[in-house]
Each structure stands twice: as C-alpha cells, then as structure tokens.
C-alpha cells in the first residue's frame, strides 16, 4: 500500500495538501519547507518541478518557477534533495511537473529516481489520459508510481467515471475553469459543481485545487470533498514572510 493510500484509509476529511515550487525562494529551501509543513500537520505535500513554460499555471507559480530556475534548480538537484529526506520525512510527497521535463530526463530514469526517493505519486498536467494509457500506465505501474488526473467543471460525467476507474491515487478536482492562482471566495456555481461531483459516489479520494487560498476556502472545499490543495497562496506567503514563518501559515488554516 502506498503512503498516500494508507493516509486516505485513516483520514477521509479535511485533508490538507500544500504545493511549493522546488528551488524557491532559495535553491536549498526544499528540506526546511517540507519539514516545516510536516511538523505543522500538513497531510501530504506537492513538490513542483520548476518549468520554463508552465501552461496550466498563473503568474504566481510562473514567477516562482523562473526564480527557481535562475537559482539553478534542476531535476538532478531535486532528486538528490529528496533522496536525502527519504528516511526522515514520513509525509507522502507528490511530484508535479510538465511532461517535457520527464521526456527529456528519460522516462525510465525519472521513474527509477522517483522510486529511489520514495515518491509514489505524480501529477503531470499536460499528460492526457489517452497518452497515459497508451504509453505510461505500464511503465509507472512497474515502478509503483500512481498518476493523478485532473477534472474540471467541463469534464463530462462519462470521463470522470473513467478517470475514477483508472486512477489509484486521488482525483484532483480543479475548482474552476482557470489556471492556478489564489482567488477570493468560492462561488455558488463552484459549490453546485462540487455537489454534482460529490453525488457521483466515486471510489477515489477527491482533493480540490486551484484557487484554494485560506481557511475559509479550504473549509468550504472540505464540506464537499475529502480535502484541498493550497499552492499559489503559499508561494505568495513564502515570498512575503519567508520559510521560517511557515508554522503560522499552516496553523492559520487548520486551527
């Protein structure tokens, strides 16, 4: 059983995940960020692999990615940072990156490195389901890696059911038709969408992301789903307050 699966078997409500871009604000902040998030009660952590052309990301994550790349971050460095944390960090880590990074690195090599670092879950926003089924599913399975799929307000019921069937991680419920970025409150329309998904009785754990930014949006999302992911708001926080203040960010949300 993967770390994420055992987490989900123990906890089904108010799951909090936090996303950060590896290499931001500083190249070697990875360890401190992960340990701070873990010790303050974050349930699982998404590690973003900075990319030059992050199509699904808004200005905040774009900016953190450029800074990380300027800091010299690359996949080899990330993997060596994560490997060093393998034994001390118990919180499930999820890697989020774009397909071209993995293609260029070598798909098998990437999977082997994930395995070496104890990474069992990946999110690749520009890897569509059909390409996954035709070219990646077998490979990922061989290395014990689960792929997370996204659904949006526009995803058809039929497609959601299919995703529910082939996924063995969680379903990433994109909160609205938009790129990543901190937004204000959750609208009536979004709640209706969450309710529609909730009523589908899917087998997968449902985690909301894109636009979840504070206690209030987190709580609203958790009324309908198993948990939520905070990304851009955390990156903005790191930019303003710095790594040392992370405990206050997390407690503010889960208090």
């Amino acid at each position: 059983m993967s770390k994420l699966t055992s987490l989900f078997s123990e906890k089904q409500h108010n799951l909090l995940s936090v996303f950060f871009t590896a290499g931001f604000p500083k190249l070697n902040d990875t360890e401190q960020i992960i340990k701070n998030l873990e010790s303050n009660g974050v349930d699982f952590i998404e590690v973003g692999l900075p990319y030059s052309d992050p199509l699904a990301d808004g200005p905040t994550i774009q900016h953190s990615s450029s800074v990380a790349l300027e800091n010299g971050m690359n996949l080899d460095i990330i993997f060596s940072q994560l490997e060093a944390l393998k034994d001390s960090v118990k919180t499930p880590l999820v890697l989020m990156g774009y397909l071209n990074q993995i293609l260029k690195y070598g798909e098998s090599k990437f999977c082997q490195k994930c395995k070496d670092c104890g990474i069992e879950t990946v999110i690749i926003p520009d890897l569509p389901m059909i390409e996954y089924e035709n070219h990646y599913q077998q490979l990922f399975t061989n290395y014990g890696i689960s792929n997370v799929f996204l659904i949006t307000p526009q995803t058809s019921e039929e497609r959601i059911r299919k995703i529910d069937k082939i996924t063995n991680a969680f379903i990433y419920v994109v909160a609205s038709a938009s790129i990543t970025g901190a937004k204000g409150e959750i609208s009536e329309k979004q709640m209706a969408y969450f309710e529609r998904i909730q009523k589908m009785n899917l087998k997968s754990t449902l985690i909301v992301g894109f636009g979840i930014s504070n206690k209030s949006t987190f709580n609203t999302a958790c009324k309908y789903m198993n948990g939520a992911i905070i990304g851009s708001a955390f990156i903005n926080f790191l930019q303003e307050k710095g790594v040392a203040e992370i405990p206050s960010f997390v407690t503010e949300i889960i208090e």
Binding site: Y51, G58, L127, P128, T155
Partner: protein, 394 residues
C-alpha cells in the same frame, strides 16, 4: 509512407494533443467538427468567395527574370505578399473564423509574433463582428509597432505577454492560459501549423490553397505542374506547409525549409530549431524543439519576429526526420542582404521572414532551366524600420 496526419493526430512519432484536462473539451469539440466543417459545401463556398473577393486570391505566380538570370534557374515567386493584410496568414484566419462561427463562438483569441497573424485575426474579427484579443510578447510589441497600431485600429485588444522571453512562445502560452480560463465561449485561432491536434492539420489544409494554385499556375506557365524545387521559410511552418502540401507525395519535387539562424546556427543566438533541437513537447504537440538538458525550453533569437520560435510544427518535424524536406537556414545578415537584393532587382520589398527563404538562393547549385518556386510569404512594410536602420550600416 503518408505525410498526412493519421487518425490519432500524429505524423509518425510527432503531433498528438498534449493538453491539460482543462482544455480537453475544447480540443475534442474542434477535433470532432473540423473536418465536417471544412468539407461542407457551405464552408467551401464561403471560404472561396472570401479568398477570391476579400483576400484577393489567386495570388500571382511571378517569374522573376532578373533574379532568375542571377542564379541560373527559373525562379518563380508565389506572391503571398499581395494578399490582403500582407501575408499568407489571412488564408488561415479566414478559414478558422468560419469554423469559429460554425461552432457558435463569440470571443476570439490569438497569439502573434511579427503581428501578421494578429493583424489577420483582427481583420477577420472586424469582418465578422467578433471580439478579438491578441497576445503578443512585450519584446515583439516594440519591434513590430506598426502592426500593433493596425490591430488596435481594427478593434482588437492587444495584451502584452510578459512572461519568459516575452516573444512568440510566451504569447502562445498566454493564449492557451486564457483559453483554459474561458473554455466555453472562446475560440483559439492559432496562427501556424503548431499546437495540439487538430490545429496543425487544420491550418495546413487552410494554407494548402498556396500549393493548389502553384500547381495550376505552373501548368499554365510552363506546361508542367511540378517545379523542381519549392523554398519556404519556417517559423512554426504554416506558409511552408501550404506551399508543400500538394507536393508532399510527389518525390521529385524537392522541398526546402529555411529556418532563421540569427547570428549563426551555433552562436547561441539562433532559431534554427531542426539543427539545435530534439524531440519534446511544446504547446501541446510532440515535435522538435530547442531545449536544455533538463527539457527547459531555450529562448530562440532571430531578427525576424515571425521566425523567433523554439519549435516547428509536427508535420515539419516529420518531414525533417524522414528527410522529405531539406532543412537549411539563413542568418540575420543573409536575410537582410536577400531583402535588399529583391528590392533592387525586382522592385519587391519582402517581409524579413520571406527574405530568409530568398537567402538560400545563393547557396544552391542550379542547373539551367530548373524551375524553382520561392514562397514569398509576406511583404516588408512591417519591417521598414529594421531595413532602414540596417541599410545605413551597409
């Protein structure tokens, strides 16, 4: 072997639709409908009428006598520069705006590099009374100022792309991000044979009017519809795809694709993708792109904003891999020289992009009587400032 797209949206290993789930419904809608629309009688009729009476097609195929004499071949120029708005780009925008209308879309978004596609999009939006938003790199906004003014006059909103290299690739990223945020009412009118399937195939089909006319015109002018060689510049590759299209299966017609070498292929300031790139995913398509060891996209450079792109369309990646087309390149200086030459001896000021195609003529060894078609993709009005600045240094 077929050089046309297969039923899964691939050209060999290239192509596909590598898009976030957020765009799946949009792409699916287009994929399910584009052939039906393109092949319908009503589309064909309206497309032809607009091309004939609004764009000014067919464009002439002109035997450039002094150029021919100089290079020792029969050099024909396919005069896409004479199209309304000054480049081949409008063939595509006329076609896609009809597709967008058929799909009931109300808001049109586009990316642009040189501004030619932006102008061509703003033009068809004015014609069809549709809202138009054009994303353009901040750097390109500065170097193509006349086209920015034209787009605004045509009623379009020009949004500066401030991320990355602030050129065409980033304008494309911004357009895709906008589409993610507006999945229902918005149509993304892409400007070249790039992007996720079905765009590369759709744009190639719409531009294929170029080679259709070349065939008819050559038959009349020379008695043979096949030239020995066709030369076209490649940014994303739409004018080249159009000029090659009806010759792809005719093996004895040599296809020459010319990329921008900037300050020199290996100078670190270049956009010669086929020489510097390798397989990867860019803007939703598996193709050849310029990237570093970790798959980060390398920012290209060319004096020509329309060729300043780190990838090529998947069709061209395939033509390159299978050696169906020969990929050559021209530096900034070679392109400038070719532009000054054409202006002086034929009285035609070409676009900087098209000047790259002309710039390989001196590198060829022709035999007398060889028939060569150069696709003159656009006119040089937008590049006058660059031409004037560099003329002083000549």
């Amino acid at each position: 072997m077929s050089f046309f797209v297969d039923k899964n949206g691939y050209y060999g290993q290239f192509g596909g639709a590598f898009i976030p789930e957020l765009l799946y419904p949009n792409i699916k809608e287009l994929e399910d409908n584009y052939l039906k629309i393109l092949e319908s009688d009503s589309f064909k009729k309206e497309f032809k009428e607009l091309l004939d009476n609004y764009v000014g097609r067919p464009t002439p195929l002109y035997l450039a006598k002094r150029l021919s004499k100089k290079y020792g071949a029969k050099v024909y120029l396919k005069r896409e520069d004479l199209n309304h708005t000054g480049a081949h780009k409008i063939n595509n925008t006329i076609g896609q705006i009809l597709v967008a209308k058929q799909l009931g879309k109300k808001r049109i978004i586009a990316e642009t590099g040189a501004g030619q596609h932006g102008v061509a999009t703003a033009t068809v939006c004015a014609l069809m009374d549709l809202e138009c938003i054009v994303f353009m790199g901040e750097v390109d906004i500065k170097r193509q100022a006349p086209n920015v003014a034209r787009m605004k006059m045509l009623g379009a909103t020009v949004v500066p792309a401030k991320s990355g290299s602030k050129t065409l690739k980033d304008a494309t990223n911004e357009a895709i991000r906008d589409w993610i945020g507006n999945p229902e009412d918005t149509y993304y009118l892409i400007g070249s044979v790039v992007g996720p399937h079905p765009y590369p195939d759709m744009v190639a089909r719409l531009q294929s009017i170029i080679s259709k006319e070349i065939k008819e015109q050559l038959l009349v002018q020379t008695g043979n519809e096949n030239p020995d060689m066709i030369i076209a510049c490649v940014g994303g590759g739409s004018n080249a795809a159009g000029a090659f299209y009806h010759y792809l299966d005719t093996k004895n017609v040599q296809l020459i694709a010319v990329e921008a070498a900037g300050l020199g292929v290996h100078s670190g300031q270049s956009a010669a993708t086929s020489q510097l790139g390798d397989v990867g995913v860019l803007h939703g398509s598996k193709t050849i792109l310029m990237q570093d060891k970790y798959g980060q996209v390398i920012e290209p450079y060319s004096i020509s904003a329309g060729l300043d792109y780190p990838g090529i369309g998947p069709l061209h990646a395939f033509l390159h891999e299978r050696e169906r087309a020969v990929f050559m390149n021209a530096t900034d200086q070679e392109a400038l020289d070719a532009a000054y030459e054409l202006t002086k001896i034929e009285g035609i000021i070409p676009a900087l992009e098209s000047a790259h195609a002309l710039a390989v003529l001196p590198k060829m060894k022709f035999t007398t009587g060889q028939v060569v078609v150069v696709n003159l993709s656009g006119r040089g009005d937008k590049d006058l400032e660059t031409y004037i600045t560099h003329l002083k240094d000549e």
